[in-house]
Amino acid sequence: MITINHLYKSFNGHNVLEDISVVFEPGKTNLIIGQSGSGKTVLLKSIVGLHDIDSGEIWYEDKLFNKLDFTSKKEIRKEMGMLFQGSALFDSLTVEQNVIFPLEMFTDKTPEEKIDRVNFCLNRVNIKNANKLFPAELSGGMRKRVAIARAISLNPKYLFCDEPNSGLDPITAILIDALIKELTEEYSMTTIVNTHDMNSVMEIGEKIIFISEGVKCWEGNKNEILNSDCEKLNDFVFANSLAKKLRASK
């Protein structure tokens, strides 16, 4: 479980996040939604410690993450997996070397055990016969799946996904969403997904928070999102003309 209390973050005096408080539960896909530039990525990067926050608390279970020293943070980070918007695979390494990297860095497994684990993770994300390929030789969807395989290679307790569907076609996007949801339930991970894709929201949104201009405006789930009283959320959810027509016909 990850708990955020009264989180504030600013850049050069400009407030990007204001008074964000939320609880992200394990075994659920927790979504952070909002328009581009609303502060979703800053929030996610603050939660994982890539940005230092101005004030507030970030709790990983009973550990106050933002007050830990570098070494203690590293211990928690070994329990994190993250899928970046652009996949962030290491260009100079093959698919197999990318997935094996965390295992080589943090485990004492034998080479055979490591390869078994790599193959298991790649199979789990439906990547076959691509061990020796380089990231540049993969499609966007494959890169995302390899990045997920790398993220889960150490059996993380926490999975973070920043715009996992960006640049993907709707069918591949739904496959990636389904994979994230399956893995979350299978390993009881606390998963946080940043997205502005309404398909993702309706597919996997077990817990959703909506952020607008750095402020949390709404919290709920995919069943509640269509009946919200939050005007800003409704503007976001019913942004396209088809959705507007559907809303008017309700």
Partner: protein
């Protein structure tokens, strides 16, 4: 001025992160071996070509400036030898490596920064600064002295080829010249300079790449800055080290 001091401070803070205890020495060892190939072995070609022609040109210029019969012919070989050892194979080769290796390091790390690969390392709990930069520093500091030695040998050979090939002096005079009044300490001086220059090239270039913010345009700018700052620092340290080591 404050910006300049801030940058100096960030540079030394980065070095502090770089020289921390590695998470897994075996992984760092593999990475260092890879850097020996990319930054060291792959530089032998350009160093060989440049040194050969530098040696040839220095020989010809020395020959044309010592045409007066008052100067003994062996001065041509001596001039080439000392020029290569004292200056060309350390300083000029370092300036060339600042262009080749420095821009390579800066653009590689800069691209990793803007494509979030460095963030991915940090999320895993890896000390990204140490993992990415320490092997490069080790590789260049250890390998560049070998490049300097290669440069000295090839440069003197290039001088001999020009000397004999173009008939500016006899082979015997040239070989006598390169043996005449040889001071072995000059080699030590050259290698000490090379170690400093290698550290400057790898650390300054890595610093420029590591803190890139933006996209491909900024990566390009960082590479340019890496080459310019490394070159200026090499020239500055050349003066300081020469004063310290030869005075």
């Amino acid at each position: 001025m404050i910006k300049f001091l801030t940058q100096i401070g960030r540079y030394f803070m980065l070095l502090g992160k770089v020289f921390s205890i590695p998470e897994k020495p075996s992984v760092y060892y593999k990475q260092t071996m890879r850097e020996f190939v990319f930054l060291g072995l792959n530089s032998i070609g350009i160093i060989t070509i440049i040194s050969f022609f530098m040696g040839a040109v220095v020989t010809l210029q020395t020959a044309y400036n010592t045409e007066n019969p008052i100067y003994p012919a062996y001065l041509i070989g001596l001039g080439c030898r000392d020029s290569m050892i004292l200056e060309f194979s350390s300083t000029v080769a370092a300036l060339i490596l600042a262009g080749k290796v420095g821009s390579n390091i800066s653009s590689e790390i800069g691209t990793m920064r803007v494509t979030e690969q460095i963030d991915a390392l940090e999320i895993m709990g890896v000390n990204s600064a140490s993992y990415l930069i320490l092997p490069k520093i080790i590789a260049t500091v250890i390998f560049n002295p070998f490049l300097t030695l290669i440069s000295i040998i090839v440069g003197i050979f290039g001088g001999w080829m020009a000397c004999v090939g173009l008939g500016v002096a006899t082979s015997e005079d040239y070989i006598y010249g390169i043996q005449y009044a040889f001071i072995p300490y000059y080699i030590t001086y050259s290698l000490i300079k090379t170690v400093f220059f290698a550290f400057i090239i790898s650390s300054v270039s890595a610093f420029q790449g590591y803190y890139v913010v933006g996209g491909s345009l900024e990566v390009g700018r960082a590479s340019t800055k890496a080459v310019v700052y490394s070159s200026v620092l090499i020239l500055l340290f050349n003066v300081l080290l020469t004063q310290l080591l030869l005075s």
